[in-house]
């Protein structure tokens, strides 16, 4: 009894480990459970254009900061012959290019890839750097007081005050004070954002500027959209300067943050930066891989993905063998199917995967039956077993070659895949079958051969199942669950399905 308990514990433990690891990978490493799910990967390219004047050029671009729920990788700068570095300036990351004696129109590119990832949390500590309030003349100060006092009275906290303020500026018919600001200062979205920031600072709201990109495919030469962010209740809250609070910043990528300038250019003229965004679909598996390899999650270091591509493909096949074995175990223990040779069926199923089912079946049956005919002649020659098997082997090769050529001439190009059948297995199958034929008769040959083929076909269908293939490769720990099930089934002491038929006559009598 204790040994039985142990078996149960052990196999359930295996199954549990497998399921838990899979769950972990799905939940925290963002592995997709099914292959069909696609993710978007955005390529953002900053294009800096300027004209050289013959002086030494120094270009500096503010870079994106770490951002929650946005996973950034593949940062790359392409700029011919420029000295390129990244540097931290006042706590902000910048890309810097330098070159002597620049002439003519120049273009520099800087690009990153971004995956939206709801579970990604940036590691940067949130910081707030205050900048000096703007100088304003007295009229403007009075207007400011009018606007802000009204906003303050009609709101409960910084958040609602900001919302109120944005609403005031968005109105078609603004109040007099707002109108004054609009006429004097506001000629672009940037001006509007800066004005809002100034006004909010007047009330000591912790506020900072953002330059945001909307992640949407096919955007060319766009500018950063100005937005602002205020710090309240221990977190930063994003605001659109026209519509107000943004609760779920989907598809918004913050490039520039704080008071830093986006582009500094010395020694050149007409410098400007614009962004292009393109979207690509990649399987979410690749996305998960990219992320985990970039963030160096140690679990991944031991996964199959670190292998070179060709060996990965070989492993894809190998990892399916346990699944085939599971099918054999289930069919033999639970159903009671008779097969010739225990795992021959799995090998045949593997061959079917290369040849496709129907061509594979036709090839298998023709090779084995031709082989049986030849073998029956060989038995007259009175050969030793090893020699006979080798002879059968050579004949199998011959039959395969002839079949391949004939089929090819007839236009069945699939026939070439016949080489995927394991020849030794075929030869042994023929040998065993011919013995069974001599000893137990044709009926037994069809029983065992048919049983093996049925098992092979079933194993084939399980093994080509896309979900199974996806799981065994992406979640090799899934095989632990298979092992657990096999161990469980190995302790199944109930009746086989075939026995319900076999012993049927005993019940009928009573």
């Amino acid at each position: 009894m204790t040994s039985k308990l142990q078996i149960y514990l052990f196999s359930f433990l295996l199954i549990f480990i497998a399921v838990a690891t899979m769950a972990y990978k799905v939940k925290y490493l963002d592995f997709p459970l099914f292959s069909g799910e696609d993710k978007s990967i955005f390529n953002i390219e900053a294009k800096i254009k300027f004209e050289g004047t013959g002086e030494n050029a120094f270009i500096s671009l503010a870079l994106n900061e770490e951002q929650d729920e946005m996973f950034v990788y593949n940062e790359s700068a392409s700029s011919l012959n420029y000295g390129y570095t990244t540097a931290q300036v006042d706590g902000y990351k910048r890309a810097e290019w330098a070159k002597r004696h620049i002439r003519g129109t120049q273009t520099i590119y800087y690009s990153i890839d971004v995956i939206e990832d709801s579970s990604y949390i940036s590691q940067k500590t949130k910081k707030y750097i205050s900048s000096k309030p703007l100088d304003m003349n007295s009229i403007m100060t009075q207007a400011t007081i009018a606007i802000m006092d009204d906003a303050e009275i009609n709101s409960a906290d910084d958040l609602s005050m900001t919302a109120k303020l944005i609403e005031k500026f968005a109105k078609e018919e603004p109040t007099q004070a707002v109108g004054l600001f609009k006429r004097r200062y506001i000629h672009s979205d940037n001006d509007l954002r800066n004005t809002l920031v100034t006004l909010l600072k007047f009330k000591n709201v912790q506020v900072r500027r953002l330059g945001v990109l909307k992640l949407k495919d096919g955007q060319k030469n766009v500018k950063l959209t100005p937005m602002l962010e205020i710090f309240s209740k221990n977190r930063w809250q994003l605001f659109d300067i026209h519509t107000g609070k943004i609760d779920r910043p989907e598809n918004l990528f913050v490039w520039q943050r704080g008071g830093v300038s986006l582009l500094d250019a010395e020694g050149v003229i007409n410098s400007k930066v614009s962004f292009s965004i393109s979207e690509n679909a990649i399987s979410s598996r690749r996305a998960a891989l990219l992320k985990s390899s970039a963030s160096e999650i140690s679990l991944m270091d031991f996964s199959l993905f670190i292998l070179p591509n060709e060996s990965q493909n070989a492993f894809k096949q190998l990892l399916l063998i346990p699944i085939g074995a599971l099918v054999v175990v289930l069919l033999r223990v639970l159903i009671g199917v008779k097969t010739s040779g225990t795992f021959m069926s799995v090998l045949i199923a593997m061959a079917f995967m290369q040849t496709q089912l129907i061509p594979g079946l036709i090839m298998f049956l023709s090779v084995v039956s031709l082989g049986l005919i030849v073998r029956s002649y060989l038995s007259y020659l009175n050969l030793l077993l090893v020699a006979r098997i080798s002879a059968v082997l050579i004949i199998v090769v011959g039959i395969m070659a002839v079949l391949a050529v004939i089929a090819f001439k007839l236009g069945f190009e699939d026939a070439i895949t016949i080489t995927f059948f394991p020849m030794i297995i075929l030869a042994w199958t023929i040998e065993r079958m011919s013995i069974v034929w001599e000893e137990d008769g044709a009926k037994e040959v069809f029983m065992q051969g048919g049983g093996s083929l049925i098992v092979a076909v079933l194993a084939y269908f399980v093994m080509i199942n896309p979900i199974i293939q996806f799981w065994t490769f992406n979640f090799p720990e899934f095989l632990l669950a298979v092992l657990g099930v096999i161990i469980l089934v190995g302790r199944y002491s109930g009746y086989r399905l075939s026995e319900l038929y076999r012993f049927a006559s005993m019940v009928k009598k009573k």
């Binding site: 000893e439 109930g494 009746y495 026995e499 019940v507």
Partner: protein, 315 residues
Amino acid sequence: MIIFPSELKKLGILGMNARNIDYIGKCNDRKLYPLVDDKLQTKQLATQHGLKTPEFFGAVEYQGQIKNIEDLLPKKSGFVIKPAQGSGGKGILIIHKRENDIFYKPSGESLTLIDIKRHTSNILSGLYSLCGKDDVAIIEKLIEFDEVFDGFSFEGIPDIRIIIYKGYPVMAMIRLSTSMSDGKANLHQGAVGVGIDILTGKAISAVQYDRPIFHHPDTGKELLKLEVPYWEEILYLACGSYDMTNLGYLGADIVLDKYEGPMLLELNARPGLTIQIANSQGIIHRLSMIDEVSVTHENIQQRIDFSLKNFKNNV
């Protein structure tokens, strides 16, 4: 026709999985298997323990010995060549009689010495043994038919299978060869199995290919008339094989020689389940009764007495 597992359970029928796990797995120590899987070892062991087996003419171990095989073959009487590690009747060549250089199978088919050598060579190269590993060919005396079986068996010698559990005889059947089984009494080759009452040695019911049968398919003889002579002696011989091998769940195959009486033919550590169909009853109840035996039965006689007392055939 299929029936519910619960009904099988009620009848106490042992299934293949339960046999493997609950009986063979528990009672049969792996390292003892070679004693029974290798018929040569079984034969030697039986001789040491004083259990009678068919007379041994010799064994061929190497291909090189085959050319001298004639020296081992009896000049007049029949003989049998079989693979030491064969099973299920595979590779057994039965020579009924010999006339100079012509050898006759029970079916009348004639063979030459070359055929015999080729067969022996096949045996040695492992064609009939599990996994094709090298094997040894045993040559032994042909068992002569006892008249009581006249008409019950076609060409081949019937063999009596007795299941021995922990040394107690549990269930018995006799296997009769048919034209289909080619002189060999192996059930899946088409031999008839007749359940035998442990108490009396009399037939209970019969099966062929797992289905009930009443008359021998070749001779038409009424199978239930069968009665095995020397029954006590046969039980004694079968139980002795437990003391000899220590295998807890065992099938002993016994044949009756016309002149020498019961002899141990082979032992089987994985005896089949058809015996239940032949007996029209499940074996589990009897096995559990043995599991529950409280007093210790020291010797074979006491164990046989226990079985005779408890295992009434209830059909």
